[in-house]
């Protein structure tokens, strides 16, 4: 906006304001009605959905789902959409940071005098795309598969080896299922494709020591599993080591 447009706007606004109504009681009444609606919504959500408390936090045992509150799903799901590991930092921080910077600077790069939405096609299109993407990602996040079941055929060589190998493989599979690995990894037809890499053929890409090292000292955002009981840890490594 140049100086003329600024002055035109201020003049136009002063007239509209002079033709308006006082804040009290007209706007206050509307605001109060809206506040009642907000309070009613909060109270009914509390009464209907309650506030459940899960099992106590335990760094070493039992199952967990590393899921954020629903309104962060769109950030979390971004990790799934952008798959290659080299691009993961871009997804986790790059896109949100860039979005935030653009949001901050919006009034400084969009300086046109036009305010009517129907005459700002770029702004409105951006709004629709961003709002649509956020809604879609939230929906995706809400419908992510259950991370607690691994159903896949045991490889023939494990069955033939039998004995300790088979037992460790089975234990490892259960631990992987119960630890919520599938919230972020795909394993055959189970689990979610991302943010983590597909584990279906992990042993073909990574030796056992590599798997163990990754479990102890993983790439963010994956949590470390070094606190697992040693037997379970060995079983997980054995199980993943068979996936060729």
């Amino acid at each position: 906006m140049n100086q003329l447009e600024k002055e035109q706007y201020l003049r136009e606004y002063a007239i509209l304001k002079a033709q308006g109504k006082p804040f009290f009681p007209y706007a206050v009444a509307k605001d109060a009605a809206m506040a009642c609606v907000v309070l009613a919504v909060i109270i009914s959500l509390s009464l209907v959905l309650g506030a459940e408390l899960g099992p106590k936090a335990n760094p070493t045992t039992t199952t967990y789902v590393p899921r954020p509150e629903w309104y962060f799903f769109f950030l979390f799901e971004m990790l799934r959409v952008i798959k290659p590991p080299s691009l993961v930092p871009l997804a986790t921080i790059g896109v949100p940071t860039l979005g935030l910077v653009l949001l901050f600077l919006l009034p400084f790069f969009d300086r046109g005098p036009e305010r009517r939405p129907e005459r700002r096609p770029i702004a409105v299109a951006t709004f629709i795309v961003v709002a649509g993407a956020m809604a879609f990602l939230t929906y995706q996040g809400a419908n992510a598969g259950s991370p607690f079941a691994v159903e896949m055929a045991t490889p023939a060589r494990v069955t033939q080896a039998g004995g300790a190998t088979l037992a460790e493989y089975t234990v490892g599979k259960e631990v992987v299922a119960s630890r919520g690995c599938l919230a972020c990894h795909k394993l055959g037809d189970n689990g979610n494709a991302g943010p983590g890499p597909d584990l279906t053929h992990i042993a073909a890409r990574l030796p056992r020591q590599g798997i163990a090292r990754t479990l102890v000292n993983p790439t963010a955002p994956m949590p470390s599993f070094k606190n697992l009981p040693p037997k379970q840890f060995a079983a997980v490594v054995a199980f993943l080591g068979q996936l060729k």
């Binding site: 304001k17 804040f23 959500l45 509390s46 899960g54 940071t97 702004a123």
Partner: protein, 270 residues
């Protein structure tokens, strides 16, 4: 029977004479309602003489809102109301909460949920109030964006609003850990790890949040103090600045609203 002349009344000293009746007075005395009114006016005057607050009140309440202001304009105050609801329910929860990762935190939340009178209800209001507030913040921002309300002269208010959006999300993130159940614990670990992948400040931010390189004993109390003291203080201060600017600059008129009275326009030009 002829009427006897009355004796003249003895002259009373002025101090003993009843004062002349004033409006609202009966038989020379103030009624209780009038008394209360007078007392109220006296107190308000006393305060106003020393603070000049009545001018601020007039400036705040009797400013005009432009023609065409509609229900979309209530989203901001609705967000403020959701924040107040969070503050009130949060105070009640804080009366019971203990930021003790060794088990006290979980135990205190379990106690609130299962044993305290209306405890689950208030905790539910706080938990779902956060969802409502986040939704309202985004709706308010969408309205501001679509109506072009971030443009001259309200650029600074938009920037403050974006900071408030970020702070609201920080509140949501830090509050999520406090119940200290499995979901809270692991979601926060992943969240802090995601933070750590950020450029430049990322690792430092993660270390700051955890209180060290590992998720440890101080992490919970750190989240607790950020959630209870740091961010709410910032939010209150910035809401104050946001509202000051809204009052000073006025709320926008809807973009399609045009001043139709050309006589007024000519007069203003002149």
């Amino acid at each position: 029977m002829p009427r006897l002349p009355k004796l003249p009344a003895p002259p009373l000293p002025a101090a003993l004479k009843a004062p002349p009746a004033r409006p609202g007075e009966e038989d020379g005395r103030l009624g209780p309602i009038e008394d209360a009114k007078q007392a109220g006016i006296t107190i308000v005057d006393w305060v106003d003489e020393r603070t000049s607050l009545s001018g601020v009140g007039r400036w705040l309440l009797f400013r005009k809102v432009p023609k065409g202001t509609n229900w979309f304009y209530t989203l901001g105050s609705a967000t403020l109301f959701a924040f107040l609801s969070q503050a009130v329910t949060g105070v009640f929860l804080a009366m019971y909460y203990r930021p003790d990762p060794a088990g006290g935190a979980y135990e205190s939340i379990r106690h609130v949920t299962n044993e305290v009178f209306l405890g689950q209800f208030v905790r539910g209001m706080h938990k779902w109030g956060s969802s409502v507030m986040v939704v309202l913040v985004f709706l308010h921002m969408g309205r501001t964006f679509l109506f072009g309300a971030y443009k001259y002269p309200r650029e600074l208010n938009w920037v403050i609003g974006v900071v408030l959006l970020v702070l609201t999300l920080v509140m949501a993130f830090t509050g999520y850990l406090l119940p200290f159940d499995q979901r809270a614990y692991w979601a926060t670990i992943v969240g802090v790890n995601i933070n750590g992948t950020g450029p430049l400040l990322g690792p430092y931010l993660s270390d700051f949040l955890r209180g060290g390189g590992e998720f440890g004993a101080t992490t919970l109390s750190r989240f607790y103090s950020i959630h209870m003291l740091l961010v709410p203080g910032l939010i209150i201060a910035l809401i104050g600045a946001h509202l000051y600017l809204v009052t000073k600059l006025g709320t926008t008129a809807p973009p399609w609203e045009k001043a139709e009275n050309s006589a007024d326009l000519r007069e203003a030009k002149a």
